[in-house]
């Protein structure tokens, strides 16, 4: 249930660990007035962090088994994908085509290993399927295929198209008087595509408050740092200029992710963009912030080391 009794806005200054910069976070604390409770319990946050760890392990195992794939951007997206599939989204793994389900589109389709891991762990298909990633005859293609994989909402991977697809879904919801919501995750490198900004313009033009864009801002794209390849800054100002309510968060802070997703639901008359500051390869010391793990699987030896690091420590 997303029923909220009161909405308290607070401006919190925080800095993202590891990236060394500060940012203003317009954060929403959703609480039950009178009791002063934090809306998202510590138990929930701990449960989601555990699941995110499991997804990271899955991602590395499946890509190493496949011998290829995109682990770096999967790890940066893992916490957000976890928050969506294991708490925020209204969905039913036993009924993937349920008409009233929320839709999630992974526009940065190359990060599908983490989406597949989430779908499998939710129960859309058996976990064993993960180990057949990218193999001939598998339901898990190198990039998302909505016909082959239960739970995949759009065939993506040619960057720049997911937000537009999401606009179509959001318009359909409005036409049908349905209250489902659409979530689109974009990569930061993907924002180089002009179509993203066509879509950004259109979503606010159509006053779509049922769509949320989430930017996985890990600062790296295939050829190097985004600021070297094609600078994005000032990114939040760009989204605001295009008419979006824009929130910046630490994309690895589970509580901030949950709060931002809830806040997007409350915004009226305009779409919401969540710029999630993340770390490519997050969770594995030798992968973090390293461009070479954009599109390369770990060796068996690297995998063993990585899995040692990815252990639950509470």
């Amino acid at each position: 249930m997303k029923t909220v009794l009161s909405l308290e806005l607070s401006l919190i200054n925080y800095s993202v660990k590891g990236l060394g910069y500060g940012a203003n976070l317009l954060m929403v604390r959703l609480g039950c007035k009178g009791e002063g409770e934090v809306f998202h319990s510590d138990e929930l946050v701990a449960r989601l962090r555990r699941i995110a760890l499991q997804l990271r392990r899955d991602v590395l195992k499946m890509t190493t088994k496949a011998g290829s794939g995109h682990p770096g951007g999967s790890l940066s997206a893992a916490d957000i994908i976890t928050a969506l599939y294991f708490h925020h989204l209204r969905h039913d793994p036993k009924n993937p085509k349920w008409e009233d389900r929320d839709r999630f589109i992974l526009s940065k389709g190359h990060s599908c290993p983490v989406l597949y891991a989430a779908l499998a762990r939710c129960g859309y298909f058996p976990v064993e399927e993960l180990w057949r990633l990218r193999k001939i005859g598998s339901m898990l293609q190198g990039h998302p295929d909505m016909l082959k994989t239960p739970g995949v909402e759009a065939s993506t991977g040619n960057l720049g198209q997911g937000l537009s697809i999401g606009i179509g879904m959001a318009l359909a919801a409005r036409l049908d008087g349905k209250d489902y919501r659409v979530y689109v995750m974009l990569g930061d490198g993907e924002l180089d595509e002009g179509q993203v900004w066509e879509a950004a313009m259109a979503a606010s033009h159509f006053r779509l408050n049922n769509i949320t864009a989430i930017v996985d801002y890990n600062g790296l794209q295939l050829d190097g740092f985004t600021e070297d390849i094609m600078s994005l800054e000032p990114l939040a100002e760009k989204w605001r200029a295009f008419g979006w309510h824009t929130i910046e968060i630490d994309g690895h802070n589970m509580r901030q992710i949950l709060d931002a997703l809830d806040m997007a639901v409350m915004v009226k008359g305009k779409p919401t963009a969540i710029i999630a500051h993340t770390v490519k390869g997050k969770g594995v010391s030798f992968m973090e912030n390293r461009v070479e793990f954009h599109g390369k699987a770990l060796t068996e030896e690297q995998l063993r080391k990585a899995l040692e690091e990815l252990r639950w420590e509470g």
Partner: protein
Amino acid sequence: MREKAYTRDAYGRTLIELGRIRKEIVVLDADLSTSTRTAWFGREFPDRFFNFGVAEANMMSAAAGLASSGKIPFVSTFAVFATGRAYNQYRTSIAYPNLNVKIVATHSGISVGEDGPTHFCIEDIAIMRALPNTTVLVPADAVETEAAVKASVDHYGPVYIRLSRPKLPVIYEEGYRWRGEKLTFRIGGSVTLREGEDVTLVASGLMVSRALDAAEALAREGIEAAVIDLYSIKPIDRETLTEAARRTGAIVTCEEHNVCGGVGSAVAEVLVETVPVPMEMVGVKDTFAESGSMEDLLTKYGLTSKDIVEAAKRVIKRKS
């Protein structure tokens, strides 16, 4: 002399007719709705009409999202933009997942005229028929346009319908009849407009009326030409084409499109596997052409009935 009518007018009218009974139809345009006639639907059903501005890529992918949510989107713009500006969006967001999107592109070919080669589209049939899951239809006149648009709605999956800018001679009688006989527009079908034993003229779109004129001119010289309106380029009517090749032993294809990859190529792909016979291709000979009046262009670039007559005579000489 046949009467003339805009195929895009027929499209605009048919959309409204369909929109009244099929509530799941939505229409998308990219700031060309006045020209494509989708504005007519927009006036009738403002809630189901979306103008995306001059942003074809966004429009095309948005159609995918609407289709995957149960709508039947009709997406319209000029052919050069529908297949050129939004090619990858169509390919990846729509054709690959086999979504139920109808793309109706106007201003195809060189009959666009004065606007010139930047706005011509002589490659769209080649592009679209190369994509799996895609149906490619090229109606010959306003009457057949109505039939094609209606048939596209009854077919699940992506359909590309190619229309023209200028008025085209009306070939069919009202209600889609040919010489009184009621026709059925079938995806993968064709219409044999005229029987003949010496050569078969296989035409599509604007070239169908020219092929009929050519057949009459040939008849005056004692040459009997069959004429086929090949309105469905993909899937293609293999049986009719094969039978025509077997019977007449010579084929002339007529298209307002580049001869690379278009109707002639599609017909040749069938006949090399079934009944290989001499063929001639009347079409744009791999050039971008230039600005000019429609008639001047069609004459200069070899798309008149006279060009078809000459091609027919050449191909008959090559018969063994």
